[in-house]
């Protein structure tokens, strides 16, 4: 409070000027993407910043159809939904064990979850590719979901655990005295109390899967099963000269994320900064 009060005696105009410029730097390019998505290539070439007199909404319908979005959005939804459900179950159980159960070597596992995110994916992506080939998991949604669950599980377990550790022990003790089993404690006491942690974790993991590129491009070559990210890449390569069209296709991928982020930005920011991790 003191700081804010004394801060006000100084002018904040300087802050606002610089912050506005920084915001323009962050958002300007995104706005240009939206503008260009309703223009023709010629209009973009003339002036990339112009506001089109007659917006070409057609770009969206054409991009949606030629990009086969009805199909790719479904694929991405399967991957995102499957991974979120999988990782919340697996991470929720692991987080519960690390937070409230007696585990020998819990420190080692917690340390692995911290360091595990630092292992460069290039170390294991090649052997994993051949392993998945042998298992018949290449070019399947299940194969991708398992990888995504694994790569996001250290983060998810860690984040869920941090929410569960904060729960008052009395609730758990009371449930145990009432004769609840460990599983019942988890589903009937811990879960209802730590759902914000699950929601935050689910949002962050879901965002990561929707946006993910490297694993998708490596493990999914079947054109009908590709997610939005890699088919958008193929679309960009097919229509390199039609900027309006490729920009519209990009907006289609971006829009659900943007809407969800604006609705739940507090949770997104909290989860992403707490986890301190880039997916």
């Amino acid at each position: 409070m003191m700081r804010l009060r004394s801060g006000r005696t100084e002018t904040t105009a300087f802050n606002h000027v610089i912050l506005f410029l920084l915001a323009l730097f962050a958002l300007g390019p995104v706005l240009v993407l939206f503008l260009n998505s309703v223009k023709t290539s010629e209009q973009i070439a003339q002036n990339p910043f112009s506001i089109p007199a007659e917006p070409r909404w057609d770009n969206y319908t054409v991009a949606y159809e030629r990009g086969n979005y009805a199909n790719t959005v479904k694929n991405s939804a399967i991957l995102t939904g499957g991974t979120v459900i999988g990782v919340l179950i697996v991470g929720g159980m692991g987080g519960y064990a690390l937070a409230h159960l007696e585990i020998r070597g819990a420190n080692i596992i917690a340390f692995y979850f911290l360091v595990g995110t630092a292992i460069p994916i290039q170390l294991y992506v090649v052997p994993l590719f051949f392993l998945w080939k042998n298992f018949g998991l290449l070019n399947t949604h299940l194969g991708l979901i398992i990888i995504y669950c694994a790569t996001s599980s250290p983060f998810a377990t860690y984040l869920i655990r941090s929410y569960m550790v904060a729960l008052p022990k009395e609730f758990i003790e009371a449930a145990k005295i009432d004769g609840a089993s460990k599983f019942q404690v988890m589903t009937q006491v811990i879960l209802p109390l730590s759902w914000p942690g699950f929601l935050t974790t689910g949002l962050i993991v879901g965002l990561g899967v929707w946006n993910e590129f490297l694993i998708a491009v490596t493990f999914m070559h079947h054109p009908d099963l590709k997610p939005v990210a890699t088919s958008l890449r193929a679309f960009q390569e097919r229509f390199t000269r039609d900027w309006g069209l490729t920009n519209a296709a990009s907006v289609i991928m971006l829009l659900p994320v943007l809407i969800l982020f604006l609705l739940m930005q507090r949770r997104f920011i909290e989860g992403l900064t707490q986890g301190g991790m880039k997916m």
Binding site: M2, R3, L4, S6, E10, T12, H16, I18, L19, L22, A23, F25, A26, P29, V30, L33, A45, F49, I89, V90, M93, G94, Y96, L98, E102, I103, G116, P120, Q122, L123, Y124, V125, V126, L128, F130, L131, I146, C149, A150, T151, S153, K182, F213, L214, T230, L232, R233, Q236, W243, T246, N247, S250, L254, L258, F268, I269, L272, T273, G276, K278
Partner: protein
């Protein structure tokens, strides 16, 4: 009395053992998942790195020959040097912008939420979209440069991603545009933990805005600052998406990094053994970064 307790202890130990074992059931799925997808393939990589293997035939054990080849491979060293440049780029420009943005944000109350959301938006956008956006914006004939040239400001209508002098920095710029807003939010959260009376004292002593930043804010958020620097170093080793999407390491390896070099080596040139050797060195680099951090910390550095 004594007899009673003894028998109870017998029961409880067996019971307790079962209890403790059942605890591991909860942990088993997440551990198994990590073993299958990450740990075992990582260890397999070490073996593959000592073989000659195209991915189709039988791997042939060749000892350390891949590493020998790696030491004499100029493109490997070029890629590694690009990773170093990439790291230095991210340790300076986005960190500076993140600190500046957070410090300015901590000094205002109105519109703070709005700015935070604005800065964070590029961070939630997919690499495929961000690269498309900047490829359009930096296009020599219909991007910002061409537009400036039309206004009479020449010299910016260059092929940023197509020239070997600018490709690496162009890609690093795009990726850091996506990243810096994340740092603002992290640093801002840390700045709110700094003791407010420290600022009071500084203001009473007539410290300027910059002096307060330098002598109160930066020391106050030091643990967070060092942690983000460590994370940037760790994340720079596997850097891949933005480079692959914008230049694919080109032109003529001008923006090649270890991640793209390994990828093309294994999936396009089918030199899987050699690619694994590159992967092993990447893991070693990461291990060194973590080790240096741990050693400095043990030596009493407050990080």
């Amino acid at each position: 009395m004594a007899f009673k307790i003894d028998s109870r202890v017998g029961v409880t130990t067996a019971y307790r053992w079962r209890q403790i074992l059942s605890n591991y059931v909860f942990l088993a799925p997440v551990v198994a998942l990590n073993l299958i997808v990450i740990v075992i393939p990582s260890l397999t990589s070490i073996y593959i790195s000592m073989t000659k293997w195209s991915g189709l035939n039988q791997p042939e054990f060749i000892g350390l020959a891949n590493f020998d080849r790696l030491i004499n491979d100029p493109i490997y060293w070029k890629s590694l040097s690009h990773n170093v440049i990439w790291t230095i780029f991210f340790l300076t420009i986005p960190v500076f912008m993140g600190l500046m943005g957070a410090f300015l944000l901590s000094g205002i109350k109105r519109f703070q939420m709005l700015y935070r959301v604005a800065f964070f938006i590029p961070y939630v956008i997919a690499s495929v979209v961000n690269t498309e956006l900047w490829r359009t914006l930096l296009h020599p004939r219909h991007g910002i440069g061409a537009w400036l040239a039309k206004q009479g400001i020449e010299g910016f209508d260059i092929r940023v991603f197509g020239s070997k002098h600018t490709a690496l920095y162009g890609v690093a710029f795009v990726d850091s545009w996506h990243f810096w807003g994340f740092l603002v939010i992290v640093y801002l959260a840390a700045m709110y933990q700094v003791q407010p009376d420290l600022y009071e004292v500084a203001i009473l002593e007539g410290a300027s805005r910059f002096q307060r930043f330098r002598h109160v804010t930066v020391p106050g958020i030091r643990p967070t600052l060092v942690f983000t620097l460590l994370m940037i170093m760790i994340w720079s080793v596997p850097a891949f998406d933005y480079i692959y999407l914008l230049t694919d390491g080109g032109p003529a390896h001008a923006s090649e990094v270890l991640g793209t070099y390994l990828y093309n080596m294994s999936f396009f040139r089918f030199e899987v053994g050699y690619a694994a050797a590159i992967g092993v060195t990447m893991a070693l680099i990461t291990a060194c970064i973590v080790a240096i951090f741990v050693i400095l910390r043990r030596r009493g550095w407050e990080i």
